[in-house]
Amino acid sequence: MLLLSGDILYGDVLIRSVGNHELFVENFRGIINYENTKLVLQGKCQIVIITGECLTILSYVEHMIRLKGIIHVIEFRS
C-alpha cells in the first residue's frame, strides 16, 4: 500500500503556520469571503475558516495564499 499524504489522495487543504502570525495555505479552490478578522477558503471537500485580527493577504497565487496577522482559530467545516 502506498503511503501517500491526504493532500495528494483526497485533495485536502495543506496548512503551514509560523507561530500565530503567519500562515501558508495550499491546495484550495478560492476565497469565499475575506474580512480583517476572518478569511473563508473553499477546499475540495471542506471549508476552512481562519479567524484572527488584522489579517492581511501578503500574496495570492493559484492554490497558494500567504496570510499575515494574529491568528486565533482555524476551523474546518464540511
Partner: protein
C-alpha cells in the same frame, strides 16, 4: 528580487469596488495575475498589482462588473512617463552615466600592500614616474611589465603581483618568498638568491635545482632554474622547455647590525590647541578652501588625504586634504648611562621582533653596547635563517650550470 522586478516593471495600488470582490481576486489568481498586500478597509479591498497584471485584468473587471480605482502608481515605467517631457533631465542622466563610464576607464588610485622595508609612498612615486601616472587608461596598463620593473628596481622584493580592481591599481608585495606566497608569475622564471648565505633547506616544486642543502650561495645566484633539459641516451640535449620555477629555499645568513644615537636629545612639548585647514585636490590641482597656515619653526603639520569614491573601488579624481597644525616647544633631555643602555637593548629587541614578524628565525646574535659621554653605540651581527628565494625573468644557463644538471653516465656491470 521580486521587489526589484516590480520596480522595473512598475506596479499599482488599487481599490477594488465590486459586489463580489472575492470572485474577481479568485479569477486574477487563476489567470496568474499577481496580487499582494491585500487588505480590507471598511467595505473596500485594497491591493497591489503589477502594471502588466493590471492591464490584463481589464477583461476580468468587465466580466465581474468590478471597478478599480488606482491609488498609487510606482516603478520605472511611471517615472519615465512622468518625466518624458523633461528632455534636459534625461540628457543630464545620460551624460552623467556616460561620464561615470568614461571616468571608470582610468586608474585613479594606486595602493601598495605588504611592504615593510620600502615605504608605500616611495613605491607609488616610482610607479607614477616610470610607467603609470594617475589618470592612465586602464587598458594601456601592462601589469606583467610593471611587476618585472618593480622586481628589478627593488631588490628586496621577492614576489610582486599587480592587478586592477575598478579604478584602483593594487600592488601586492612580499619581501620574502615563503610557502604561503602563491607563485603567480605568468611567464617562465627562475628562483634566485635574495641574499648570500648557506642553504639550510630546499624544496623544489617546479624546475631544476642548481644547488643543494649545505651549499654556500651568493646574492643573485640562480637556485632553481626554469629551464628543463631533456637528454638523449648519449647525454645530448634533445629538447629544452621553459617553465615557471617554484620552490622554498631557506638559508643561514649573517646580517650586520649597527645603531648609534646621541645621549642628548630633544622632545616636543605640544600645545593643546590644534588648527585645521582644508583643501580640495582635483586631478592634481590644489584648491585651498581655507587660508593656508605657513609652516614655521616650532610648528608641526600633518596632512591627510581622503580620496572620494563611489562604492568600494570606483575612485573619483577628487581628494579632500586636511592639514592639522600643532605648535610645540623643544625641550632638551639626556639619557642616563643606564637609560641609554636600556634604550639600545630596546632597539635591538625591536629589530629582532620585526624580523620575527616577517617569518625570519634569529639563530644567534652578537651585539656589544658601548655607552660613552656623548653617544651610545650598539654594534655586532645577527645570524638568521630566512627564505631567500626571489623570482627573476628566466635566463639561459651558463656552461658550469649545464654541467651541474647533466646526467651522469650509467655504468653497466
Amino acid at each position: 528580487m521580486q521587489a526589484i522586478k516590480n520596480i522595473i516593471g512598475g506596479y499599482v495600488k488599487v481599490k477594488i469596488v465590486s459586489n463580489c470582490p472575492e470572485r474577481f481576486i479568485n479569477l486574477c489568481a487563476k489567470q496568474d495575475i499577481e496580487v499582494w498586500d491585500l487588505t480590507r478597509e471598511n467595505c473596500d479591498y485594497m491591493c497591489y498589482m503589477t502594471r502588466k497584471g493590471f492591464q490584463s485584468s481589464k477583461q476580468l473587471q468587465e466580466k465581474t462588473n468590478t471597478k478599480m480605482e488606482v491609488l498609487i502608481k510606482a516603478g520605472l515605467p511611471f517615472f519615465l512617463c512622468k518625466y518624458r517631457k523633461r528632455k534636459l533631465f534625461l540628457i543630464g542622466i545620460l551624460l552623467c552615466m556616460l561620464m561615470l563610464f568614461g571616468l571608470s576607464q582610468f586608474v585613479w588610485e594606486i595602493n601598495v600592500y605588504g611592504n615593510t622595508s620600502y615605504t608605500k609612498e616611495d613605491i607609488i612615486k616610482y610607479i607614477e614616474r616610470e610607467s603609470i601616472k594617475l589618470g592612465t587608461l586602464k587598458f594601456t596598463v601592462n601589469c606583467a611589465k610593471l611587476e618585472e620593473q618593480l622586481r628589478q628596481k627593488y631588490e628586496e622584493i621577492a614576489w610582486v603581483s599587480c592587478s586592477i580592481e575598478g579604478c584602483r591599481l593594487s600592488v601586492h608585495i612580499k619581501e620574502t618568498l615563503d610557502k604561503d606566497t602563491k607563485n603567480t608569475s605568468s611567464v617562465p622564471c627562475d628562483i634566485v638568491a635574495l641574499k648570500s648565505g648557506t642553504i639550510t633547506s630546499m624544496i623544489t616544486q617546479n624546475g631544476t635545482p642548481l644547488c643543494k642543502k649545505g651549499d654556500k650561495v651568493k646574492k643573485g645566484q640562480t637556485l632553481i632554474t626554469g629551464n628543463i633539459y631533456i637528454y638523449s641516451d648519449s647525454n645530448e640535449v634533445l629538447e629544452t622547455h621553459q617553465i615557471i620555477a617554484d620552490g622554498e629555499i631557506w638559508a643561514k645568513t649573517k646580517v650586520d647590525y649597527q645603531c648609534v644615537f646621541n645621549r642628548s636629545y630633544y622632545t616636543k612639548e605640544y600645545q593643546k590647541k590644534k588648527s585645521y585647514t582644508y583643501a580640495l585636490i582635483c586631478c592634481g590641482n590644489h584648491i585651498s578652501l581655507m587660508p593656508k597656515i605657513k609652516q614655521k619653526e616650532g610648528m608641526d603639520q600633518l596632512t591627510e588625504q581622503y580620496p572620494l569614491k563611489l562604492g568600494k573601488t570606483f575612485y573619483l579624481p577628487l581628494c579632500i586634504e586636511r592639514t592639522t597644525t600643532r605648535r610645540f616647544s623643544p625641550v632638551r633631555k639626556e639619557y642616563g648611562k643606564r637609560e641609554a643602555y636600556e634604550k639600545a637593548e630596546e632597539k635591538i629587541a625591536k629589530e629582532i621582533k620585526k624580523l620575527k614578524k616577517k617569518g625570519i628565525k634569529v639563530l644567534d646574535q652578537k651585539i656589544t653596547i658601548k655607552v660613552t659621554d656623548s653617544q651610545c653605540r650598539a654594534e655586532g651581527y645577527l645570524i638568521l635563517e630566512e627564505p631567500i628565494g626571489k623570482i627573476r625573468a628566466i635566463r639561459p644557463l651558463t656552461k658550469k650550470q649545464e654541467e651541474k644538471i647533466k646526467p651522469t653516465e650509467a655504468v653497466l656491470w
